[in-house]
């Protein structure tokens, strides 16, 4: 019994290796260039919005908040009109990591699960992708805050 288990494990390892060698590898260089360009353009847009808000006379603290709000709106809007998924297909991490990607991860399940109703569809499923980010984001914020409180000063 022990032997057949070992044999099976060996066979599985061998097959996994074989499959790995058969599977095409993604072009990391091309993907990185796309991510850099698209991510960079999103950040330039953010900077442009920020500078514009400063010029029209918003306070320093308000500028950051207002910029985030505008970018989140843009991410949600582009998701709604069906552009953000096409962007994400090319850019990968370049469009997932900025705050617009966060908006996309909330709006896309909300759209998808509308058929299950406003409560158990949109309400319950909205955070299906962003939920883990929020949970571990909050947790690490609290931990870092505690470390800062005790030794950071």
């Amino acid at each position: 019994m022990e032997n057949t288990k070992k044999e099976r494990f060996h066979k599985q390892c061998k097959y996994n290796q074989y499959v790995k060698q058969k599977s095409p590898k993604p072009n990391f260089f091309k993907n990185a260039i796309w991510a850099f360009l698209v991510g960079g353009i999103i950040c330039i847009c953010g900077q442009f919005i920020m500078n514009t808000l400063k010029v029209i006379g918003l306070q320093k603290e308000e500028v950051g908040t207002a910029t985030s709000i505008i970018l989140i709106f843009l991410g949600a809007f582009l998701t709604g009109v069906g552009i953000y998924d096409k962007l994400g297909k090319r850019a990968g991490g370049g469009s997932i990591i900025p705050i617009t990607g966060f908006a996309n991860s909330i709006v896309s399940p909300a759209m998808e699960f509308k058929t299950e109703g406003y409560i158990f569809g949109i309400g319950a499923k909205m955070f299906i992708l962003a939920g883990p980010v929020l949970v571990y984001g909050f947790t690490s914020a609290v931990l870092v805050g505690l470390i800062y409180l005790f030794i950071g000063k």
Binding site: F9, K11, Q12, C13, Y15, N16, Y18, V19, K22, S23, P24, K25, P26, N31, T79, G80, G82, Y84, D85, K86, L87, G88, K89, A91, G92, S95, I96, G101, N104, S105, V107, S108, P109, M111, E112, F113, T115, L129
Partner: protein, 337 residues
């Protein structure tokens, strides 16, 4: 005594059932693929006038069944059984279609192997003398599968190069004790095979070992060689799974290169349609068999076909619990008169 059983996993029919008619309905993307001229009904809108993807899939299945029955010059009430399944939880699209059709119904789950599974069981029912007419069918829908197994449609992620594209479509076949058309002569029922692949984006590699296992069992049980067939076709292994299968079967002493193909490779032009490794889903082998293969058999361009639909028996739960992907494959021999 099991007088129709030959070898370990194969059945040879005494009165081989006829496939008297087939019908297919496919989505817009499939309708732009290389096999477009073989499909009966190509949708311009994959929601098909329904409120949800699941209901659209159900309608696709229902309409294919109705069309197949029409082509066989029979009525819905003449159908004694409906054998069908799909990929959705609790077979939603199938059950809802069966509710509307009102045909005595067996729901099957074999993931993407369902077409060969329903043909196998249907042929046994007919040859066993339990029915004169029945319908074997299955369906899948890209959007209903995506939302159940993967990400929301509008989510901006990248698909792996090894990933496949779930076919939107359904194929239905009418089996009968008499009539014209190709006959089902042998059925080889597959075992669940798992060689430890955990990557849900590489289903072709996960299912290939089961296709190989069933194919070898079929050759051993029947004594057939690959040369008997003018087409051996697997269900939805895609480009990577196809290559693996070919090599693994060769290692077992059978050269299938000349006659072998895969429905997932046939249904899309992977480069032009951006479908990465190829098509997948229950609808893949259903549409390719009921469309392309059946029509080519009627034209006598193909005369001996071995259809091996392949299924990945994973669930979202099993994948999240870190389990590997078990594969299944069933083989059906279909020959001309």
């Amino acid at each position: 005594m099991a007088i129709k059983k030959i070898g370990k996993q194969t059945v040879k029919f005494e009165n081989p059932p006829y496939i008297v008619a087939t019908a297919t309905t496919v989505g817009p993307k499939e309708g732009e693929g290389p096999l477009k001229s073989y499909f009966d009904n190509i949708l311009s809108d994959d929601l098909y006038g329904e409120d949800s993807w699941e209901l659209a899939e159900s309608k696709i299945l229902r309409e294919s069944v109705k069309r197949a029955i029409q082509k066989s010059d029979k009525n819905i009430v003449d159908m004694e059984y409906m054998l069908s399944g799909d990929l959705l939880n609790q077979l939603m699209s199938t059950s809802f279609a069966a509710r509307d059709l009102g045909i005595p119904f067996f729901g099957l789950y074999g993931a993407c192997s369902t077409m060969a599974e329903s043909l196998s069981l249907g042929a046994m029912i007919i040859d066993g003398g339990y029915a004169d007419y029945l319908v074997a069918t299955t369906s899948s829908h890209f959007s209903s599968a995506e939302r159940q197994y993967r990400f929301p449609l509008e989510h901006g992620n990248q698909r792996a190069l090894t990933a496949q594209w779930t076919v939107t479509g359904s194929g239905a076949a009418i089996l009968s004790t008499n009539g014209n058309g190709p006959k089902i002569t042998h059925v080889t029922t597959g075992k669940v095979v798992d060689l430890g692949i955990k990557d849900v984006n590489n289903m072709g590699a996960a299912m290939a070992p089961s296709a190989v296992d069933t194919m070898i069992a079929h050759f051993q049980d029947t004594g057939f060689r690959p040369e008997k067939y003018d087409l051996i076709v697997t269900g939805d292994l895609g480009a990577i799974g196809k290559e693996i299968t070919e090599e693994m079967v060769f290692d077992r002493g059978y050269n299938i290169t000349k006659v072998y193909n895969d429905c997932g490779v046939l249904i899309f032009d992977n480069e032009a349609q951006d479908t990465h490794a190829g098509g997948s889903g229950c609808g893949c082998s259903a549409c390719v068999f009921c469309g392309y293969i059946y029509k080519e058999m009627i034209k006598k361009n193909l005369n001996n076909v071995l259809l091996i639909s392949t299924g990945a028996l994973l669930s979202t739960t099993s994948a999240q619990q870190g389990q590997s992907i078990p594969g299944i494959a069933h083989a059906v021999t279909i020959v001309n008169g």
